[in-house]
Symmetry: C2
Amino acid sequence: MNKPEDPRLAATRTLALDAALSILQEKGVLAVTYASISAKTGISRSTLYRHWPKLESLRNDAFLRAATSPIFAPKTNGPLRADLAWMMGNLLTALNETPWGQVAPQVVAVAATDQQARTVIDDFMKDRIVSVEVVFTAAKERDELRENVPVRQLVEMAIAVPYFRKLIAGLPLDHEWLDAHVDLICRLATEPPLK
Amino acid sequence: MNKPEDPRLAATRTLALDAALSILQEKGVLAVTYASISAKTGISRSTLYRHWPKLESLRNDAFLRAATSPIFAPKTNGPLRADLAWMMGNLLTALNETPWGQVAPQVVAVAATDQQARTVIDDFMKDRIVSVEVVFTAAKERDELRENVPVRQLVEMAIAVPYFRKLIAGLPLDHEWLDAHVDLICRLATEPPLK
DNA sequence: TGCCTTATAGAACATTTTGTTGCATTACAG
DNA sequence: CTGTAATGCAACAAAATGTTCTATAAGGCA
């Protein structure tokens, strides 16, 4: 039972998905076809069809590949400012310097009509949100936060703005901007209660 | 000079773009083709080709149609809480109950490789950001804001989170959530300076 | 009304893309 | 060395895409 897999299978899979990913980055989801991947890799179309009977499934595997970037373990030593800056720095890097920044909008668009793509995004986001939430929770346990901080809301703010700027508004994400962003979030979380 | 346009031209344009828009909503950008629009409208393919020699241009016109929802004039009478709630309420309605909520991610995805689509998004966002900025500026002039409020950052936060929730994270936008969101933004803007 | 212009529908067609199959070749595992 | 299985390739069918032509009909105008 459980024969070891022919290494050629993994090889074509990897090759094809890498190609799909780079096409996704450069030309968008509309350009991801059996033909374009075959041309880019030298893998024959028939082989691609054998691996992925539906183009949908190929696309989704490529999405999944883009979405499984290494997760940075959250730092929770404190202070919040430092931990959050670390997490947000990672997010900025992911959006600016990995395929995810280019691919995410493509996945989101497909997710509108494709449950699998929706799941890719949802799982990805859930993980990221949790990893930032952990940072806040740790800060809370160190009594760094003021009373009744709406942690979940702050987490969403922290994450939403960079995504919005990069994916939707087409605005740049640089470290100067990030500093200001982290500052504002931290201020909101740590400053004394207001009324 | 300047002959009045044959009403048939406008009629087909409208009919075709309406169909394109509803296909965009229901099936995503991948399903927007001459054939699908022809099938939905009864307009013959040859006519569609005459109006839009490139599918790209048809798509972009549909995008533009989705993006030109009526702009709500910002209220600036104060207090900030009320004005902002009004603006955000409009945003929520636009995202929940107009094609824009479904179509925006499609435009964003295409914008990655299509300058015209990028422009549609950029113009749209610029207008929306400005219209919220106006609300804050008015509040500032009424001395409702604390010193050194980073208006631009707050505006982006106000807008980014609903977009993030709806388009990217697939989270719901309801009025309960919106209240909390507006509260948090207002608190940050109006509460006394902190150090 | 009648005439001219022009938009449209529909068919016919070439081209490209997509999906499918059969077979020879080649890599892998034992 | 041998059987199994994955690949490449060619051939093919089916569908989508793009282009052109002609007859028809609707609109503009005197």
